[in-house]
Subunit: 254 residues, 2 copies
Amino acid sequence: MATGRTHRPATRSRGIPEATVARLPLYLRALTALSERSVPTVSSEELAVAAGVNSAKLRKDFSYLGSYGTRGVGYDVEYLVYQISRELGLTQDWPVVIVGIGNLGAALANYGGFASRGFRVAALIDADPEMAGKPVAGIPVQHTDELERIISDNGVSIGVIATPAGGAQQVCERLVAAGVTSILNFAPTVLTVPDGVDVRKVDLSIELQILAFHEQRKAGEEAAAAEAGTPPPIRSTAASRKGPDGEVPAVMPA
Amino acid sequence: MATGRTHRPATRSRGIPEATVARLPLYLRALTALSERSVPTVSSEELAVAAGVNSAKLRKDFSYLGSYGTRGVGYDVEYLVYQISRELGLTQDWPVVIVGIGNLGAALANYGGFASRGFRVAALIDADPEMAGKPVAGIPVQHTDELERIISDNGVSIGVIATPAGGAQQVCERLVAAGVTSILNFAPTVLTVPDGVDVRKVDLSIELQILAFHEQRKAGEEAAAAEAGTPPPIRSTAASRKGPDGEVPAVMPA
DNA sequence: ATGCCTTTGTGAACGCGTGCACAAAGATTG
DNA sequence: CAATCTTTGTGCACGCGTTCACAAAGGCAT
């Protein structure tokens, strides 16, 4: 997961569990691929493999949407694509603004996955006057001063923050004040928002840290196994891989 | 969260719940900020606010690490920074390779959050021969042919995949074969890996789709409230905001 | 030393998510 | 039409994660 979430308590929405909602895009992607190959129907088992989940979970997820399958046959691919798209709100076009056009912002602007699925980059916004007018991904960057007008004129309700951590909260507040009610935050900060505003957080370094934790644990198990006489699984030549623990605490508590 | 995960069943590692592990980086970041302001101690309540969680959860999380607090006082900031860093395996230096130096790969290479916390970009790898030798973020890009040698020479165990979806699985297999056991995947594909290899997935478009779902639901509630006579909360001037539902299914099932 | 105040650490209850296992439903074949 | 086979949809049980609420522990003032 990438991810962190900030949701208000009222999680269940129209009976569809949050965990299921989070998997719908996964199913949708797998189904779209099948659709492009003109596959007419698919079983829960096949689709589950393609989406990387188990089939019981997938069936239960779909059961929240309704009974869209045919017993003994499977699911109609096209029909399911439509139903999930509608459920996710992708049958309409969502204008999105990206604030902070650094390396990451530019990468996001160029990312094809947005346009292809119901999202349209309505504007790129940056605080640097030097950037103003310069085109990124074919869209001219606009200055932060224009933020409120852009949101308003385009009826934008989803904003992406890709600024440095320092400016994120302020940008967030301006977005919300201008009418944005959903924010995707790439800045490594906790954003404070009023009720009714959704924030999802994507944090690259957090994901890496979680991997490091598991990696360390694996190394620890290897070491323990080796100590117990069991030879560790053959690992590539590793230059100076430290074992876990073994350092001295930097500071002790009073 | 940003977020998809692919974990093997053996979730609990040394008694620390997975959910807790995922929050440790959050606490670490908040604590580091306090440390930089030379704050000596912090209460669970204060730290919880800074990290964006509730205090009971935070205390329970810390209880899995040990009893590092002092009742009536709080937690020693420096000591806790060290303990969490050690638990996450950040007291050692993790060499990381980034494969696929497009917009996103370049953004990742330039991202300061890596180097600052125990990670070191050991190499940038791309399949395009044109890229070879060209420096990105001060590091010369190397060709995919070198992949196995780079992994081996540097003892790399963590790899980041930022290639297009098409090539991701193949890159993944080569990384794993060369000794990588943890992968952070930005490509919009399900990666298949052998047991013992951890994969975390970050998918930008999935996060947006989840936001769209909630956004649509909000619009639906507004409409419902309006219908019921309750005036909807005043929303900014919105040009042509479609209501939920109201379209015709594209295809009906047999 | 004693009593009060603050804050941690955790037992217990609850709710959500997952996975099993099977009955119901439809297709298919003879 | 009956028998069989396939695949869905779901009731149920279990385990993880969250939250409450409070006893235990330490600091501090008198």
